[in-house]
Amino acid sequence: MMQAMAKFRGYRRAEPGTQPEYLHPPYVSSIKRAPSKPLVYLPYTLSEVTGPSFDSFAIDVKASDLTRPHAGEPLGERIVVSGRVLDEDGRPAAHTLIEVWQANAAGRYRHNVDQHNAPLDPNFEGSGHTLTDEHGNFRFITIRPGAYPWRNHYNAWRPAHIHFSVFGPAFATRLITQMYFPGDALLPFDPIFNCIADEKARNRLISIFDWETTVCQQALGYRFDIVLSGRDSTPWEK
């Protein structure tokens, strides 16, 4: 009823150079899947500034601990990954769904397409989800994933990473990304990590080792903050 009368604000477009182009030939899979025609610029409508809310979905409060679902402990180095989901103005994305997935410590995904001959771990699925709290905070307990080979080029290996899927407040803020680990020797060689020229933006995909997150006698801690598009400064008058 109020919707048609509501003022709403759009979202800021990405700063040039901070988001990948679709065609990135070093990443071979992009060559036949990247669109060849320019995107059509779409001013925001209500369809893009609204988005799904997952707080009445059946969120499993235990699913933020990826080490837990089985009777036994998964093999590998237990870690805590925590951070905040914010927008570009520093406003927290509260109660937003985060989904994560990853390889096990040996670099193997529990997926029928993954043919890497590293062992599966019967005590590790590699998936989790959570909602951020009212300040945008999240915290996962997991195992540090291993690097794994892929067929992009000769002797190609993906650096260790965790996939993050985040919604934020609107269709416009939907983001899927990957978190990497500091000091990984494979990072300079990875065409996915190196999909943008902006080194600072790239390096924000690398988590930060963090004593505050580290749990004594239990798990090393890493911080990974995720920043979603901020609101446009001028409201649409509707």
Binding site: T18, P20, S36, K37, P43, E125, G128, I176, T177
Partner: protein, 204 residues
Amino acid sequence: MSLQATTSQTVGPFFQIGLARFYVDDLTGLGASGEAIEIEGRVFDGDGEPVPDGVIEIWQADAQGKYAPQESSRELESIEENDPHATGHAQAQRAEGAFLGFGRVPTQADGSFRFKTIKPGRAPAPDETLQAPHIAVSVFTRGLLRRLVTRIYFPDEPSNAEDFALKLVEAARRHTLIAKKLRDGRLEWNVVLQGKDETVFFDC
């Protein structure tokens, strides 16, 4: 304070592990009144090969053109038993009646996907008009470093002619956004990532 948005990365080939729990292929259900529709399609790459490892997400208004409330109660429904083998279909049921408006389906080996929903109504456009009924779509696949955004419109819909977003698209390409009606009433809408009949994708 001005931060910069995090760089997007590909969903990769193994997203099923992380995203299956919240697959929603049927948006109808409690509280969803309106015309039930089934939409199916396939995703193709620049060689016309099916894309068997993509995931399609949709977001739409209800039959009255209203989007689900953006400020809903924060009471969480927690599951007592954590079954790591459970797929999303069972868990992703709305706890209450309101129309969620969100769907997510993976593509199959032949690149196909399908979902059941209700035909959305007309939501307001920024220029004081009403948009034609449409569904907002995100496409994620291995090989896409960021999502592609597009829309599904409906055939035999006079309001398409005056739609805010369709008018931005050159006439010769608009058909890529409009579903076709199959003989049995289902709707077909394909995604061509690249090439001659490339789907229109939006900068969003």
